[in-house]
Subunit: 317 residues, 2 copies
DNA sequence: TTGTAAGCGTTATCAA
DNA sequence: TTGATAACGCTTACAA
């Protein structure tokens, strides 16, 4: 009986015997391990997705095998090959919108769920409500009186980024805000390029340039802060800055950063739960939004727009 | 012959066949996987150790299985149990000075090398030159003219921390600098506790309190910056601040932080190389120092001490 | 209920 | 050189 089996297992364990998980995997055809592909450990947002995922994995008796892909498709391929038999499925947080990796997983029949970044085609994915996050930051700026708002997005091709810019554009349109072409920056996020872009946007006279800048992520936001500081533009008295993602250091930047905190930990957690149901064959392609809503963390990088700007905005043309 | 074997493997691969790595592990008794235990993904210093380790692992045909231990011994135990058969050895970056985990690894005969943090007893370990890092930051402060220097270390029990405080104490002694008892803070690094400690140290009159504060890591340093800002103490004009570890955000803090950059990536790399030699049975217990020296990144949080302090320091008593 | 054997996909050994 | 076979350590199905 099962109970006796348990007792024997326990007794054996006391004597120093432990079942060999490799042999177990081979016999069972199941590894009780889940792979997780992360663009980079360097981005703190992923650190907490991993933390959440790992907790969920451990709670369900699985181990989580995490790798850093550097957003490099060739590396991802190698890692998937090497982990294919050792893991029962994958949480993929580093998919590009058109990723050969996703194709590879599909053709090899490896179960997977996308996290944070979706990809073209049908598959199960778990994402946070980035649109709501952007929306709430814009609403807040709007409430403060800002009407001229720029968005620093970075290059095309990543789902999350597109969702965030999309939400920005929707808001701007629905509120009838001004939208000169270069107020949405789509260039490289490399420090010098970004600074050049920011400088261009800010080179207009004070009553024509944006009174608020929204950045696509935390690092970009902090570069913006430093950039404005270098340009001699005050934050928040001249320009307000809002970031995306949160992290202890965000509080200690040149100006403590107002930013959108995404439920990253819950996202990681839900991704593995979703993957587990896929492994049980219970799931069909669909997109899951994590229920936990984003949160706007208001600190000191935002304020009402400068008075001249207000005057100019109200002056009839 | 071996060559034919290769050709057949290649042909089979074309046809979609791939050797099953689990079966391979079982047969070979070797998994070609290495475990890595990290205190927390949230600390950016570890992110780059992982990056280095993963590169070295991949280059040698291994996969790196990384887990976040939360510095929790119980969790480490579970993770080691679950990875014991799936990995050939472990890189342990989250060992406490007296860690049951190390004992566990030893009694189960699992090969391992300690990274960054050493532990009591004999074992192979890879560390950076923390002492040199601290030393160079203190030399720099000294050169600027600082003589009253405080060190915020945090709780006892972690090897790296002890090495850093040790180096601080050595320097202070060798230079005959003043060293009131509470200038070395050994309390909790929780924000409120740390702030209380800092406030106490800074509550002395300006010409008696420290003119420079050195922090044990990046987060602590940024908390110190914010703390001083809150106290209305200027950085660097009233007090200089030096951190430990570097990260892109360090440049964007309230004051761009002068800090010691450790060769974290090289450390991770070397740890897996070291582990690989252990696995080949070539290694006896020893400590390896990573050759790459620390680097002092000078930014804007340090300057010459304030003039009144200089005057007071020079005034004969 | 208990014990035995087959199978998981490799590699390694030993005859042929 | 080739080909069959045991072994890795577990699970499960089937006979005793």
């Amino acid at each position: 009986m099962a109970e006796t089996r348990e007792r024997i297992f326990e007794a054996a364990k006391q004597l120093g015997w432990r079942p060999n998980s490799v042999a177990r995997s081979l016999s069972l055809g199941r590894a009780y391990a889940l792979g997780m592909l992360i663009p980079t450990f360097a981005n703190p947002a992923y650190a907490s997705m991993i933390a959440g995922a790992q907790r969920a994995a451990e709670d369900s008796g699985n181990v989580l095998l995490v790798t850093d892909t550097s957003d490099n498709e060739a590396r991802m391929k190698v890692q998937i090959e090497r982990l294919a038999d050792r893991a029962d499925g994958f949480v993929v947080a580093s998919a590009a919108l058109n990723s050969p990796t996703v194709a590879l997983l599909q053709e090899r029949g490896l179960p997977f769920v996308l996290l944070n970044r979706r990809s073209a085609g049908e598959h199960v994915s778990v994402v946070g409500d980035d649109e709501a996050g952007v929306h709430m930051s814009l609403e807040y700026l709007s409430l403060l009186g800002h009407r001229r708002i720029a968005y620093l997005a970075g290059p095309r091709g990543v789902d999350t980024v597109e969702r965030r810019v999309g939400a920005f554009r929707d808001f701007v349109r629905s509120q009838g805000l001004p939208m000169p072409k270069d107020w949405v920056y789509r260039g490289s996020l490399a420090p010098d390029r970004l600074l050049a872009g920011l400088t261009r946007i800010m080179s207009a006279p004070a009553d024509e340039r944006p009174t608020a800048v929204v950045a696509v992520n935390l690092l970009t936001a902090s570069q913006v802060l430093s950039g404005l500081r270098g340009l001699g533009i005050g934050v928040p008295e001249d320009v307000s800055v809002v970031g995306f993602d949160d992290w202890p250091l965000a509080e200690h930047l040149w100006r403590p950063l107002t930013t959108v905190r995404m439920p990253t930990e819950a996202m990681g957690e839900q991704a593995v739960r979703e993957l587990l149901t896929v492994l049980e064959g219970q799931s069909s392609p669909r997109e899951t939004r994590v229920e936990v809503p984003p949160e706007l963390i208001i600190r000191e990088s935002t304020a009402i727009p400068p008075v001249p700007a207000l005057r100019s905005a109200r002056r009839p043309r």
